[in-house]
């Protein structure tokens, strides 16, 4: 993974437009926040291999970036994205990392299901 190049990411989003794609979407504080000095409750959510189709998909912002996908009947949204890569399996992976390299948010799209 490397820093998001918005033009390249936009091309990748366009390439998957109007097709049945698998979505992985997540956000996480990590599981151990309750042990930290602030004793915060962990907040974690993910969806893996939901099937979607989007008619508009944009990457916006000056970095960290936002991505919004307009579906036939709904939306997909992620904010705080910093890095991206396209894997050997042609999966588009977008992630937001904190200063220490921890993942905080992820939005991924693939024409084939992500590994289960």
């Amino acid at each position: 993974m490397g820093p998001i190049d918005p033009a390249r990411v936009q091309k990748e989003l366009d390439a998957r437009l109007g097709r049945d794609v698998y979505l992985h979407l997540e956000t996480t504080t990590g599981s151990y926040t309750a042990l930290g000095p602030e004793k915060r409750t962990p907040v974690i959510a993910f969806v893996r291999n939901a099937s979607i189709r989007y008619e508009r998909g944009l990457v916006t912002g000056e970095g960290p970036y936002r991505v919004g996908l307009k579906l036939d009947s709904g939306w997909v949204y992620a904010q705080g994205l910093t890095d991206y890569t396209v894997t050997e399996r042609d999966e588009l992976l977008l992630a937001g990392h904190d200063e220490e390299g921890n993942l905080r948010v992820g939005l991924q799209l693939s024409l084939q299901p992500f590994r289960e």
Partner: protein, 253 residues
């Protein structure tokens, strides 16, 4: 900067009232925990002492740990590469500890949503095949991460279903020390790991994606308070366990 002061000469204050277990005298050890790296944090010293004496040691690992948020520091893994990265790290750690590993292949974070009896049946099959004298797992309800609690419960059910004589079942509790002491009292069993503390550090380092940041902190002594230092020193000196055989553990709703 050394993160490893010399081993303390005396450990009496750390193991007061506990039975000292000699891993080299075991017939076999199975460590049953959900994530690659749980074995190194909790039991690396015990595993190394056993395997050095020719005792077969197996790490039965519930998941690939591929939903973690640590990606290395600086990050080198991503959500999709994480599974293979962590299995390689696990293989390296097990080589250092002289252990073999088996994966149950459950989805990270999702162990508590599986049927505990089904998971227990799979664990039991492994225990029947390997016939260990000691099994190590997490203390259900006292292990912070829901996967830890769920794997502890399933392992408890698996051991309870074995015919007598059952293996000794030892449990690792995680979390605030004072709270754990208040809820569970002191541990009953301790292993003196002073002679293999380098191996424990090596195994922890092998789980690079997960521990790199921790070692960077230790070495820079950034964020390093007295309590953290004491905790680290203790866990590189002794490994302490609760006895779980015969303890009634409520099933979740």
């Amino acid at each position: 900067m050394s993160i490893l002061p010399p081993s303390p000469e005396r450990i009496d204050h750390l193991v007061e009232g506990m039975t000292l277990l000699d891993p080299s005298a075991e017939r076999g050890i199975v460590v049953s925990l959900p994530h690659p790296d749980d074995e190194s944090f909790s039991s690396a010293g015990t595993m190394a002492l056993a395997s050095d004496a020719g005792v077969p040691v197996t790490y039965l690992c519930g998941t690939f740990g591929d939903m973690g948020r640590r990606m290395g520091s600086p990050f080198f893994a991503n959500r999709e590469s994480m599974r293979d990265v962590r299995e390689r790290e696990l293989a390296d750690a097990c080589t250092i500890l002289g252990a073999r590993y088996e994966l149950l292949g459950m989805r990270d974070r999702m162990v508590e949503f599986e049927d505990p009896h089904e998971v227990a049946t799979r664990i039991r099959a492994v225990l029947e095949r390997l016939d260990p004298s000691t099994v190590i797992t997490f203390y259900p309800g006292h292990a912070v991460h829901p996967d830890h609690d769920a794997m502890g419960l399933a392992t408890h059910l698996a051991v309870a279903a074995l015919p007598d004589p059952k293996p000794r079942l030892l449990a690792v509790a995680v979390g605030d020390r004072e709270q754990l002491r208040a809820a569970l009292g002191p541990q009953q069993v301790a292993v003196d790991i002073r002679t293999v503390r380098q191996r424990k550090l090596g195994a922890l380092r092998a789980h690079r994606s997960q521990t790199e940041m921790m070692f960077q902190r230790w070495e820079s002594e950034r964020d390093d308070d007295e309590q953290m230092r004491a905790y680290r020193e203790e866990n590189l000196t002794v490994e302490r366990f609760y006895r779980l055989n015969g303890v009634a553990i409520p099933l979740p709703r």
